[in-house]
Point group: C2
Chain length 509, copies 2
């Protein structure tokens, strides 16, 4: 039963509070309206279904080494949910499932949990869902909470990870596996869903292998989470949270662009969150058309120095000055510091403003630049990790969770929940699981071969970068700014898919 | 005729471009959907109306001095538009009107211009509207553009000031008045609408007095613009742009709050734009319930030092640490530097993080604080000045502009366009004009008495501050965060009025 809400000056407050935290808090009108939002789901999830396996899988690289590291799991097929006359999964089995959030927040995490919960309610009644608190440490220390309908209700379609919180600990050493085993045994867990990024999913697979090697019944399914967008492959077209975070940053960038054009006197240097890979920066560029965008992967591929990057910026600024434009917007990926060795862990956007100032001063003395330069620095980061999930992320996450429930129910382990056909209407999305080992390669660390899911970097011959590269000269000189505006939950643009996904899937088709 | 739009992958591009700039650019789906949004307007503007004058006015202070400074305008009544059998304004007169944007951007400025334009089209057909480019300098230098239906169409309900751009020059010296006179004569102007803040409206009134004293026909009407919210009085309940800017900042603050609660390890210090007055900070606090909010006016009234402010923050941080909360959100008004003499023009939020760190280190050594403190700094400013105007600001600005047209048409000068009853549905809003001299007082500057519209500061005995003060202790210790979410243009919360306005008008009633 859902807790009752009391309307209070446009704000609804949860009245009955089985637990402290968000439930004791008050909700804005928009948050409240999202809780009961009727989420579209893939049509396969609305009917009876069965699970169909594909052919045996291999690995992203060094299959022989991956086979040695995962003797029990290597070669597993991917699975797909397909409509069926009757539900043929797990019969009347009641399940005990745990779920854990790992690493940085991404909009939609709560909906993954809601999807698992609803699967169990609808297709394995009498089952129990445990939420491990504070990330993987909760698994190892046995810190958990039983997730009930009342408990999860206020988190439906809401941002943040505060339902059970997250953490950055890892389960990867033999001692840590032992602790996880103890918790699994104590709770009699049939399955565990690990919601995390590349490292967390690698560790989820190692844990699955460990459980399987010991003939323990606990199975492990991963879910692709990161706003950075660097966990993806053919069968996992995107990680959740990327869509929402990019749209939040793009709203802000679009506003700053209109400010720049209206004021006519500032260059805005915007650094965007997103660690090593520049996906967020590329997506925001495609959404907003800034004058200058630095893509870390291109800087690395072309072995550009800080001086090269500065000169590129200064060249554009000088060209624009000749046209009478003494303003602009420049996007800088957080990960730039990984690609330019001379850049320390500092605020890149401020350092670049100084470099550009110095170089422009030189050109002024040479007579090749006559205008005035004023830089404004921005960092868009935390604002985007916890926003209300877009309609896309809300449905995507719910399907990931619901699918994870089905995979566990059917006895699968070592798969990552995968939802595909994402550019089509939600009803047509596919739901299934991909062998985690098929996404892996090995890396030598401290002399030992370690399995890794390689971070998906921006591909310089991929459709999104190529589209960007074909337009950036025009964007540099002309003012082609687009202002996406705030995320809408109803009406125009509310169901739009991000450009990267659209282009990548379009290119694959 | 409106230019035709071409749909292009979810993005609509303006095809015919009578002028460069925004028209040559492309629009996002949300921007496009706003252009043709059917704007609700006060019902009085949908019928024939007449203008009714109130009693003679005085001044906000020193009426004798104001009377001396404005011999032709002092004592003017305020005016109100009231429904009438037939339009009784200005008969068949064709008007030549100029409009100018003055100072920093505020969401809705374009709609003021659209309101003036539509008034002229509907009630004084054959009239001409000139837009002065680049702010008051455009008036003095005679830089203008004729605003046609095609020209203004793409700016309807859009953010920014880029239709004609703004500037920070002033028209206040005899030489500058002379230049303005020449432009007015050259264009045969019947009227000029000055869209600006307190200084710009003061100067608009001086210009009106100057024109009147020389028996020139050009009349001047002001419009209350500033996101800072510090231009208001009984008859001008708010300045436009405040609503949108606060909602944009509150969205970001709400996201950061959920991030803080989910991560559990950061204190976010958020500095908010808004110059001297702390209205934006107060409104954002009422919308989001942060743990600590500094109101500049309170700091001034209580003569608090930087050490006092730091200690207050540290006390709350220590109390929260005892409760197990090592995270939080702290709002700091940009104008704090005006109230604490020892604070130089630096990034206040970063300095406060350092001060708090130092003090906490001390308390750690004394044993009264045992947790770890990590500060994250934010400045929310430019992102808010140019957002797409909320439904409130879009309608408010349109009514301000439409009303300004009516005031000029009826021969009024030296008034500020004023729209009231703003907490009621738009249809019930009142439209009229308030004597600018009635908002004035004098200040002695360089030994001379100068007329000023005093900045409306946060009143410590006003309803918004009192509500905040009554709740802040609870907000400090408990986590009562509210996340307003992104601005919606349709559906829940899309027509909400900001808390400050609601409380202030409620208190006046």
């Amino acid at each position: 039963m859902a807790p009752s809400f009391v309307t209070n000056g446009g704000v609804a407050a949860v009245k009955t509070t089985p637990f402290a935290g968000r439930l004791a808090s008050v909700y804005s009108e928009v948050q409240t309206s999202r809780i009961d939002h009727a989420l579209p789901v893939p049509s396969v999830l609305r009917s009876p279904f069965k699970i169909v396996d594909g052919p045996a899988s291999s690995a992203a690289g060094n299959p022989d080494e991956i086979a040695k590291l995962f003797p029990n799991l290597f070669g597993q097929p991917s699975s797909m949910l397909v409509p069926n006359g009757i539900d043929s999964i797990g019969s009347d089995q009641k399940l005990k499932i745990g779920v854990v959030l790992s690493g940085g927040q991404a909009p939609g995490g709560h909906n993954v949990i809601c999807g698992i919960f609803d699967y169990l309610q609808e297709r394995a009644p009498g089952s129990t869902l445990y939420g491990f608190r504070g990330g993987p440490a909760g698994v190892m220390k046995g810190k958990y909470v039983e997730l009930t309908a009342d408990y999860i209700y206020p988190y439906r379609n809401q941002g943040g990870f505060d339902m059970i919180c997250s953490g950055r600990d890892k389960i990867e050493t033999p001692e840590q596996f032992k602790q996880a085993e103890e918790t699994a045994a104590k709770l009699d867990l049939d399955g565990l869903v690990v919601i995390g990024g590349d490292d967390s999913n690698t560790n989820a697979c190692l844990l699955a292998e460990n459980f399987r090697s010991k003939n323990l019944k606990t199975r492990v399914i991963g879910c692709p989470k990161t706003i950075d967008g660097d966990l993806k492959c053919k069968e996992v077209p995107t990680s959740f949270g990327f869509d929402t975070a990019c749209k939040i940053y793009a709203e802000m960038i679009g506003n700053v662009m209109i400010d720049a054009r209206s004021t006519g006197k500032y260059y805005h240097f915007v650094r965007l969150m997103g660690r090593a890979a520049s996906h967020i920066t590329l997506e925001c560029a495609l959404q907003t058309h800034p004058n200058i965008t630095i893509i870390g992967e291109e800087v690395a591929a072309k072995k550009l120095t800080l001086k090269n990057v500065t000169d590129y910026m200064v060249d554009v600024i000088c060209k624009r000055a000749e046209l009478g434009y003494n303003y602009g917007v420049i996007l800088i990926p957080e990960g730039l510091i990984d690609f330019i060795p001379e850049v320390a862990k500092i605020e890149t956007e401020k350092m670049l403003i100084q470099m550009v100032e110095t170089e422009l001063e030189k050109r002024k003395q040479e007579g090749s630049y006559k205008a005035n330069f004023k830089g404004q620095s921005h960092f868009f980061g935390y604002e985007g990790r916890c926003g209300l999930p877009t309609n896309f992320d809300a449905s995507y996450c719910y399907a990931l969770g619901y699918g994870a429930g089905a995979l566990l129910h059917s006895g699968k382990t070592g798969l990552i929940s995968s939802v595909g056909n994402l550019c089509a209407p939600v009803e047509e999305w596919t739901v299934g699981g991909t062998a985690l080992t098929s996404m892996m390669d090995v890396e030598r660390r401290h002399g030992k071969l370690k399995p890794v899911i390689k971070k998906a970097m921006v591909e310089l011959d991929g459709a999104p970068f190529k589209k960007f590269a074909s337009l950036r000269e025009e964007w540099a000189i002309k003012n082609c700014y687009i202002s996406p505006g705030p995320i809408q939950f109803a009406g125009p643009a509310s169901n739009a898919v991000n450009h990267t996904l659209l282009l990548e899937l379009g290119a694959q088709a």
